[in-house]
């Protein structure tokens, strides 16, 4: 295949344009994707920034107000998964780190429940409250609950 120089110029211009679009979009749309512990570690520098936080819904903290579509809960770190056997390490009963999340104006996701893993998109405000624009549930395919033990 031979392509003459002027086509290489044309193709190069298109590639440059695509590169520019990607670079430009990166600058304006990227946001931190953090775990709850990372948010705790960088709380000072994150104030007011758009962040994505992955964590677990802390049981006993969920409040849902259907008339205003307001969901409040606390998000805590996801316990480390022992990679080899995929069994969970015991959760420490009093986990010190957690952030309060307030999500208003969106229906509660179907898969949302205490103890489930969620991804929260929003901004970290004063007092460690995350005002969420979106709460997404990550849904495992497998439910291995209540197996007789």
């Amino acid at each position: 295949m031979e392509i003459r120089p002027r086509f290489i110029i044309g193709a190069g211009l298109i590639i440059l344009a695509i590169g520019y679009l990607i670079g430009n979009a990166m600058r304006t749309t990227s946001e931190y994707y953090l775990t709850v512990n990372e948010v705790a570690g960088r709380q000072g520098e994150l104030g007011g920034q758009a962040i994505r936080v992955a964590g677990r819904v802390k049981p006993g903290t969920v409040e849902w107000e259907p008339s205003t579509l307001t969901l409040k809960f606390e998000i805590m770190p996801i316990p480390d998964v022992d990679a080899g056997t995929a069994t969970l390490k015991p959760v420490v009963a009093t986990d010190p780190v957690s952030f309060r999340v307030i999500a208003a104006g969106e229906p509660k996701p179907d898969m949302f429940a205490p103890g489930r893993d969620v991804i929260v998109e929003g901004t970290l405000g004063a007092g460690g409250i995350i005002t969420a624009t979106q709460v997404m549930t990550s849904c495992a395919s497998k439910y291995k609950p209540k197996q007789s033990q």
Partner: protein, 674 residues
């Protein structure tokens, strides 16, 4: 029973290994007996995998919870249809299903090539068997579908409620079919590289496979989008989630491939590029599987996440390295004498279309893997959301639409100014006029105006093409309009099928633009008997009805929909369902779809009395056209794939002449160059 499944998978693995050895030995020593024996091994392998699939299906249907897989993905109360689809509802089953498709397609390819392509077919089948070996190794040693539980539970954990939906029943098989059938053209491309038979024989032999794969990738993406639209209840259909991107990227590259092979068939150019594209497509299908199963890139729906990631990544890297090495090794033989002459030529239009498609695929890839890259380089995960993908791809989509109008009309090699004016004056005028009308109607966003103008321009070019072809026929053979149209399409099905696909893409584009720019949303808490409005509709909440059976419980809101004149148009019934086994709620959206707009009603919440409920309502203009466009794309693909009498005759002639025919069979639907 389960021993039978394990045994069948073990034998299948041995047969796959044998077929590679026999194929390569037979091809190298010119021993047709061995090639035939390899073919029989492939068919036997297919039979063995089929047995394994049947065994798992029987276990699912009989709710045999001694099998770990059945206990994890089914239950006694699961409806029979979903017990069948549970085959691909989980990790091991979906890999088995994948392997089954691969075995079937490999068998068909073996049958098709039992007399054709004696030089490259044995190697292509060996490559396919090599892919099958990877999957069979997984099934035999890593993620075994027939593992038993020590104690069989009385009840299974049930299939994920989100998957208990008919779109989800057909979405994975479509996507897998698209993924897996892409390995056939890939295998023939690899075989061409291995053997050095680098003419376009491998492309012609697998043209229908490539279109078939594209069709099912299209369907898979559309079904997935439709599923998201109907089930997830957020009013949209595409969120640029890694799993969605994984399905979209091979589609993009396969689309580029289907266009660029036409240049090789006609002009003997872009050989390396075509081989690279098909290799990339295949690599992306593996990459997609890797993403969805490794958990390396966090997705909102990792349905089949597991520890398979490293295996897939290793296989992917091995394939990419081997294929790249082959390409470099043969690069000297891949240079053609042909040259591209002018920007004003179809070759140039196709080249730029290819760059755009691959550029979009690259942008999607970049956005998908960026969190991993940034973590590796900077130690912190940075993610880009849907705005990134929209911002990059929206302008590129405009470029593609523009080229879609130019490409089919512009002549090969070069076009004169006079030709350009003659071909494009009317469509351009139509496009500009549409833009002016849209602006006069009050549309102000520059993107929407440009998009609608370009859409009209492309429609104009397609209509002009149909009209020109019909007139030519009517002129030559004096047919009536309808007859001329049917004959035109039937005799040039590849070309006119392509146009129908283009119209489908355009329609889908209109749907995407309309739904992205004009969607409105209302959230409202209402008491029984209250009403509220969205757009020109008035919605009145009449009451909540509860129902229950063994499998699920439901709460259904009855909503009366009134038109602008206050008359009732329809009743809608959004609902919340509770799946009992898993105590898992699921939203059932109510949708009223018209070509102008979709009314999309979600029951977002209700109180204990059932008298106060909260609705989330979306009014989404034009989204209907996304699905209609999808249907047109399918129709056009079927037309393009339809067996063509002229083509068959041409192939027969070439085959009777010489085994390595390089004859010009391409005129099938090749644009009548004037």
């Amino acid at each position: 029973m389960t021993e039978l499944g394990n045994l069948a998978l073990a034998i299948a693995l041995l047969l796959a290994v044998y077929s590679i050895v026999a194929n390569i030995y037979g091809a190298r020593r010119n021993a047709p007996d061995f090639v035939a024996s390899a073919r029989h091994a492939i068919w036997s392998m297919c039979a063995m995998v089929t047995i394994a699939v049947v065994v798992l299906w029987v276990a699912l249907l009989r709710s045999d919870f001694s099998l770990e897989y059945v206990a994890a993905y089914s239950s006694t109360t699961l409806p029979t249809g979903y017990k069948i689809t549970a085959l691909w509802g989980g990790q091991q089953g979906s890999l088995l299903f994948w392997t089954w498709l691969l075995a079937i397609f490999t068998s068909i390819a073996a049958f098709q090539n039992r007399r054709r392509n004696p030089e490259i077919a044995p190697y292509a089948l060996a490559v396919l068997a090599g892919v099958a070996i990877f999957f069979l190794l997984m099934l035999n040693f890593v993620t075994r579908p027939f593992d038993l539980l020590a104690v069989a539970p009385a009840e299974g954990s049930d299939l994920n409620p989100l998957l208990q939906n008919y779109w989800m029943a057909i979405h994975p098989p479509s996507l897998y079919t698209g993924y897996v059938s892409a390995s056939v053209p890939f295998a023939f491309g690899a075989a061409a590289l291995i053997t050095g038979k680098l003419d376009d024989g491998w492309i012609r032999s697998t043209r229908r496979w490539a279109i078939f794969s594209w069709l099912f990738l299209t369907l898979g993406n559309l079904f997935g989008a439709r599923w998201a639209y109907e089930v997830l209840g957020w009013g949209g259909y595409w969120a640029w989630d890694p799993v969605e991107n994984a399905a979209f990227m091979p589609w993009l590259v396969m689309t580029a491939y289907l266009h660029s092979v036409m240049i090789q068939e006609r002009k003997d150019m872009l050989k390396v590029w075509n081989l690279a594209l098909i290799g990339l497509t295949f690599g992306l299908t593996l990459f997609g599987t890797f993403i969805t199963r490794s958990g390396v890139i966090s997705s909102v729906h990792s349905f089949t996440q597991s520890g398979l990631g490293p295996y897939f990544l290793s296989f992917l890297i091995a394939v990419v390295l081997a294929y790249t090495a082959l390409l470099i090794f043969r690069s000297g033989q891949l240079r053609g004498p042909a040259q591209m002459e002018s920007y004003l030529s179809r070759e140039a239009a196709f080249l730029f279309n290819n760059l755009m498609l691959v550029g979009i695929a690259f942008a999607v890839f970049w956005g998908t893997v960026f969190p991993v890259l940034s973590e590796a380089v900077r130690g912190v995960k940075i993610t880009v959301g849907p705005p990134f993908f929209n911002r990059v791809n929206a302008p590129l989509a405009l470029g593609l639409v523009l080229l879609m109008g130019i490409g089919p009309l512009i002549a090969w090699r070069r076009t004169t100014a006079g030709n350009l004016v003659r071909s494009f004056a009317a469509p351009v005028a139509f496009g500009v006029a549409t833009g002016i009308v849209a602006a006069a109607a009050g549309l102000r966003q520059w993107y929407v105006l440009t998009a609608f103008s370009l859409v009209a321009f492309v429609m104009g070019t397609v209509l002009a093409e149909f009209r020109r072809g019909m007139n030519a026929r009517r002129h030559m053979v004096a047919e009536r309009r309808a007859t001329a149209l049917v004959n035109l399409v039937a005799k040039n099905n590849r070309r006119y099928g392509g146009y129908v696909i283009h119209v489908g893409v355009i329609a889908a584009f209109v749907g995407i633009v309309g739904s992205s720019f004009f969607r409105t949303e209302v959230k409202k808490s209402v008491h029984e008997g209250d009403s509220f409005t969205i757009g020109s509709y008035t919605l009145r909440f009449l009451g909540l009805a509860e129902a229950e059976n063994a499998h699920l419980a439901s709460a259904t809101a009855r909503v009366e929909v009134l038109g602008p004149d206050g008359r009732e148009i329809t009743m809608m019934s959004p609902a919340k369902i509770l799946f009992k086994t898993q105590q898992q709620p699921a939203t059932q959206v109510a949708i009223r779809s018209t070509p102008a707009s979709d009314l999309y009603l979600v029951l977002a919440g209700f109180d204990d009395t059932g008298q106060n409920v909260t609705f989330e309502v979306f009014l989404t203009p034009l989204v209907f056209w996304l699905w209609a466009g999808g249907l047109l794309m399918v129709l056009g693909t079927v037309i393009a794939m339809w067996p063509n009498v002229r083509e068959r005759a041409a192939i027969a002639t070439v085959l009777s002449r010489s085994p390595a025919g390089t004859g010009e069979l391409a005129d099938v639907g090749a644009p009548g160059g004037d």
